[in-house]
């Protein structure tokens, strides 16, 4: 950037005129300062740093929107109560006590539903014009999305802990080793993180905050209910059975359930990991691409 002092051409009647020498000397000072403070950063470190700044913004307002959090937890808690105490006696699953069978599924569902906050948050940032400003800043552009998904991962972890406590209250127990349990928790949260990227793309694609709420939510009902989360998939008819068996949500639920109950998850663990990574890669790419195409 040119730091040469400029001769300021001013209108005699203009209120903002000042003496030329004065203006020029401060101009140099300001520009020198500007250049020093605002180098153009790039590289992975900057992406991380900007992402964390973004994530902090979202995390900071979590305590201010506790009501949102409470209602987000209220719904799965109700599911636990309904399924355990209302349907619990009429639904039977082979080899399992229904509680031990059901709760890993509800954990997985809660976490996947929790990912819808990502889409809503992004749509809200666009609605309040903030995304416009962010796109004019010398920051890593993908950090806007990475920061959002990271903060939602953390939010989801908090929800998950509460859900675990509720699970214990109704009699759910970890029957696997500590290692198995941790892997199961990590797997479920990782899967939720992957779904956050799907929601990010939805949030970037819809026209309003109201739309994202239904667009982000609707498809998750079939995905989570036509699965092994609540019932044995053998009991489902024809195409539903077929869908439930290939549903990645079934695979991750089965893996989590096996680990929580001290059984071997077999290939389900690897398949669900592959699913999570694949979803992250594909939807991260699509979202970042979509974000970068806003300027067309």
């Amino acid at each position: 950037m040119n730091r040469n002092p400029t001769e300021k051409k001013t209108d005699t009647e203009n209120t903002c005129s000042s003496t030329t020498a004065d203006a020029a000397s401060t101009a140099v000072a300001v520009n020198a300062k500007t250049n020093r403070c605002r180098d153009v950063p790039h590289g992975p470190l900057w992406i991380l740093r900007d992402s964390w700044t973004e994530a902090l913004r979202h995390l900071r307002i979590l305590p201010r929107t506790v009501d949102l959090m409470i209602f987000a937890i209220f719904q799965p808690v109700m599911f636990v109560v309904l399924f355990v105490y209302v349907f619990g006696n009429s639904i039977t699953v082979p080899e399992f006590d229904y509680k031990q069978y059901l709760l890993p599924g509800i954990f997985a569902q809660t976490i996947v539903f929790g990912s819808s906050f990502t889409g809503a948050g992004i749509a809200q940032d666009m609605a309040q014009g903030l995304v416009q400003r962010l796109r004019s800043l010398p920051m890593s552009q993908s950090a806007v999305l990475i920061g959002r998904t990271i903060s939602d991962l953390i939010r989801n972890s908090v929800t998950f802990v509460v859900m675990l406590l509720v699970g214990f209250a109704v009699g759910f127990r970890f029957n696997g080793s500590i290692g198995d349990t941790l892997v199961a928790c990590g797997l479920l949260l990782g899967f939720g993180y992957a779904f956050s990227w799907i929601q990010a793309l939805i949030g970037l694609s819809v026209s309003s905050v109201e739309t994202v709420q239904s667009a982000g939510f609707m498809w998750m009902f079939p995905v989570t209910f036509v699965s092994s989360a609540f019932v044995d998939t053998q009991t489902l008819a024809g195409p539903l059975h077929w869908f439930a068996d290939i549903n990645p949500f079934t695979i991750v639920t089965n893996a989590g359930r096996a680990l929580f109950n001290g059984q071997s998850p077999g290939n389900d663990l690897w398949f669900s990991l592959i699913w999570a990574v694949a979803i992250i890669l594909v939807f991260c790419f699509l979202s970042v691409y979509r974000f970068s195409r806003f300027n067309r």
Binding site: M1, T15, R38, S136
Partner: protein, 320 residues
């Protein structure tokens, strides 16, 4: 003289709408360019292209010597943008908003804090600084919005109708502040519908029609060119307007139309006092009675109205 912002033959269409058709602009470093034009002229589109939010279809735009299409990232390190719509996080406090943007501009934490305090004070937000923005009034939100675009002390600032929604005191304070910024060497592109604002602040003015520049110059040059004085005739009866316009057209500066609004007819002239008696006689001859008649200095509003008059007729669809 260094050119801080330059556009060459800038074009942009949205579907069938031609928002820009070959716009050339140049802003010297440390000056204010006032961009005027009717609604839908393309002012915001230019700002958005310069701020790297929008890609032009063709043409070139350079900010601080850097091409906005080729190296948007480097452009972003030099600019501050206050868009037409406010862009703040409503859940954060004013202070948090400022510090957050400071961090994204990679200021040191201490420096970000120092500038935050200073800006809160300058924009009269110190007391409200620790309240969530959703509790702010519209004007407070706008002031915060402008402050946020200045936290990195950018060399080039784009202000798209910055004083909309500010009360008169807020607007005056903003004018002082903008004058202070330019005396510090900051280059400013200002769009506004308050022509007094452009008159006060802008070193040069560009008037846009739909998609292209109609004319440019210093505020005084424009006023001279479009007639330094105005003779304003107020009628009792609106129906007389066309008769009066016909009678007065010969006195108007050649090429400039007599303006008419409701019961007021305005004639652009070079020298008022000399022509006034003749004009009154001409109206008298047309047998029209007058409520009032007088000479006044031209304002930028007059310039704007006269320049954009034909343009508005050409406009694809605009509410009358």
């Amino acid at each position: 003289m260094v050119t801080a912002v330059q556009t060459t033959d800038l074009c942009k269409s949205f579907g069938m709408t031609k928002a820009l058709v070959g716009v050339d602009l140049a802003i010297e470093e440390g000056t204010v360019l006032g961009l005027l034009g009717p609604n839908g002229a393309g002012k915001t589109t230019i700002v958005r292209i310069l701020a790297t939010l929008l890609l032009p279809d063709s043409g070139q735009a350079v900010v601080g010597g850097v091409d906005v299409v080729a190296e948007p990232h480097r452009v972003r390190a030099r600019i501050g943008l206050t868009g037409q719509e406010t862009a703040v996080d409503h859940n954060l406090t004013g202070r948090e908003n400022l510090q957050y943007i400071g961090q994204l501009c990679h200021l040191e934490r201490k420096e970000a804090r120092r500038r935050t305090d200073k800006l809160l004070e300058q924009f009269d937000l110190t007391e409200a600084g620790d309240r969530a923005v959703k509790t702010y009034s519209g004007g407070m939100r706008r002031r915060l919005d402008i402050a946020m675009s200045l936290i990195a002390e950018p060399a080039v600032v784009f202000l798209d109708e910055p004083t909309v929604g500010l009360d008169p005191r807020g607007r005056l304070a903003m004018w002082d502040f903008i004058a202070e910024l330019t005396s510090g060497g900051t280059t400013i592109l200002l769009t506004t519908q308050y022509l007094e604002e452009a008159d006060k602040l802008a070193d040069r003015i560009v008037v846009m029609g739909y998609g292209s520049v109609i004319t440019e110059g210093t505020p005084n040059e424009l006023k001279q060119r479009m007639g330094a004085k105005r003779i304003e005739v107020e009628l009792y009866d609106k129906a007389d307007a066309s008769t009066v316009i016909d009678a007065l057209t010969p006195f108007s500066i050649p090429g400039l139309l007599v303006q008419h609004h409701d019961r007021t007819v305005t004639v652009p002239v070079e020298e008022g006092a000399r022509l006034l008696p003749q004009m009154v006689r001409a109206i008298d001859a047309a047998d029209v009675s007058l409520r009032d008649v007088g000479v006044r200095q031209s304002t930028l509003d007059d310039v704007f109205l006269i320049l954009t008059d034909q343009e508005v007729e050409k406009s694809p669809g605009i509410e009358s």
